[in-house]
Amino acid sequence: MNPSVKRSPPRGKGPRVTLRATYRKPWSERLLEGGVHLAAWLCILFVVLILFFLARESGGLVFKDVFQVVGRYWRPISEPPQFGVLPLLAGSLLVTLTATAIAVPLGVGAAIYIGEFAPPQVREILKVSVEFLAAIPSVVIGFLGMIVLAPLVKSLFNLPTGLTALSASLMLAWMAMPTIVSLTEDALRSVPDTLRHGAYALGATRWQTIRRVLLPAAKPGILAATMLGVGRVIGETMAVLMISGNAARIPHSVLEPIRTLTATIAAEMGETVQGSDHYQALFSLGLVLFGITLVVNTIADRLVHRGETS
């Protein structure tokens, strides 16, 4: 677009020209406007930069034969090395899906209880606890997982080790819950009382009202809550590293040890020589993660948006 067109006063439109001439934005306003503009562009710039450096450091290994997205073996230090991403991808996918399947029903259920059933004092206590839960660093949760959860899973299922995909999923579900609970509760709270009364006046019970009116009305918010929770699950590294068993093999059940993309990067980065194939392979994993995040976010955005308009 040509900016001079915008600025030149339209001919023959007297009043508009005068308006333009007399109104000058105050300085503070222009400064602020410039500031927020800059901030917005910086966000985009960062994303582009991350992508750029990931691509540069990966040195195009993604396109070479040693690096196989569907390869079955991740053996970075064997001779010759094999960089098959499938086991890590499967590990990430397995814990993410399992954790989501645990966290979403529990989280939404807890939010319904807090928002619709709990008496005021109980509600306050619950809300504070949920917020506190959200503030616990994931490493600490990882410790708990190692000394409490893993032995429990081990003895419960009679396994050789408790460091399994299931343990990791439970930990991750625990970490995703606070986000899901508090955002879902906000979404339910923002449903106007008029809707609840409308349903009650038609002879609906409390549960019927929740199921058929409140949940549909709060759907965009609940979806957003779910996606943010899933986001935390995908991105979480430390706790998973500590408790998932760290075995880069394609799992056949949740009771086997696994390893995720993020855990692999975190665990192996320190041992690589800069510029080596292994180093480049880890950055390539970063690219894969980047792609996954992009896809998940796009889907989430579509879902949330569709919910809003319909």
Partner: protein, 254 residues
């Protein structure tokens, strides 16, 4: 005017308190079967509270205390545990139309479905009949499955009426149903009510005495939680017995 044979609702010595605030004081009145009873009065005179007692919506307000007796046929309406059933028999329409976030069809089917009607054939008939009775059928016939929230305010209000009618209620309570509507939509809602009168007992609370004088068989005047006067609409508006009634309608009309 139709001469009623029995009463749809018989209210005796009804009082309602919110904490130590009295919202209704010792109201006694009979609502005839099939009549259109108008209720007028200034704000905070207890009109809304009165309606919410009649279908037990008052139960959703935790600090409300209700005393008195209400009889609906053989039912002791204030004592029964079957709150959902009372609300199906006595429908309520609010001032602001609240379409549920469902399709047009979904809104009308909502009540029947919750009370256990599942047969698609029966539901279709109910939807058509109710929308026709509410005077909305022609306008939405071709888009029953589009979101109800896309309808105009006046259409949504008639949808709310249809939704309530789908439960085949004996009594329909309307709380200032036209306060948010333009004159044209108001006229359509009034036509709907006039057409329904006789089949359904209607209690219409209105902040606009003109509306009561246009459509109601009898009109009650509430003030400060008390029933000041109840009479045939024409008599109440032309020859009010109580001077407070006179002052109110003169103030509103003058």
């Amino acid at each position: 005017m139709v001469m009623p044979t029995t009463d749809a609702l018989s209210i005796q010595n009804l009082s309602v308190n919110f904490g130590n605030k009295t919202a209704l004081r010792d109201i006694s009145l009979d609502i005839h079967k099939g009549e259109l009873l108008g209720i007028i009065g200034p704000t905070t005179s207890g009109k809304t509270t009165f309606l919410t007692v009649l279908n037990r919506m008052i139960d959703t307000l935790p600090d409300a205390k209700v005393r008195g007796r209400i009889r609906m046929g053989d039912l002791n309406l204030l004592a029964t545990q079957q709150v959902q059933s009372v609300r199906r028999r006595v429908g309520m329409i609010f001032a602001l139309p609240v379409a549920l976030p469902l399709t047009i069809r979904g809104n009308v089917e909502y009540g029947p479905r919750r009370s256990g009607v599942r047969d698609p054939g029966i539901l279709d008939v109910l939807v058509e009949d109710s929308l026709k009775a509410a005077g909305l059928w022609e306008e939405v016939e071709t888009r029953l499955d589009s979101p109800a929230l896309k309808l105009s305010g006046g259409q949504q209000q008639r949808l709310c009426i249809a939704r309530a009618l789908a439960l085949k209620p004996e009594v329909l309570l309307l709380d200032e149903p036209c306060s948010g509507l333009d004159p044209l939509s108001t006229a359509r809602v009034e036509d709907t009510l006039i057409a329904l009168r006789g089949d359904v007992t209607i209690v219409l609370v209105t902040n606009n005495p003109y509306q009561a004088s246009r459509v109601a068989d009898r009109t009650a005047f509430f003030l400060g939680g008390e029933l000041v006067e109840l009479n045939d609409t024409k008599a109440l508006f032309t020859l009010p017995k109580d001077e407070r009634t006179q002052a109110y309608i003169e103030g509103k009309f003058g």
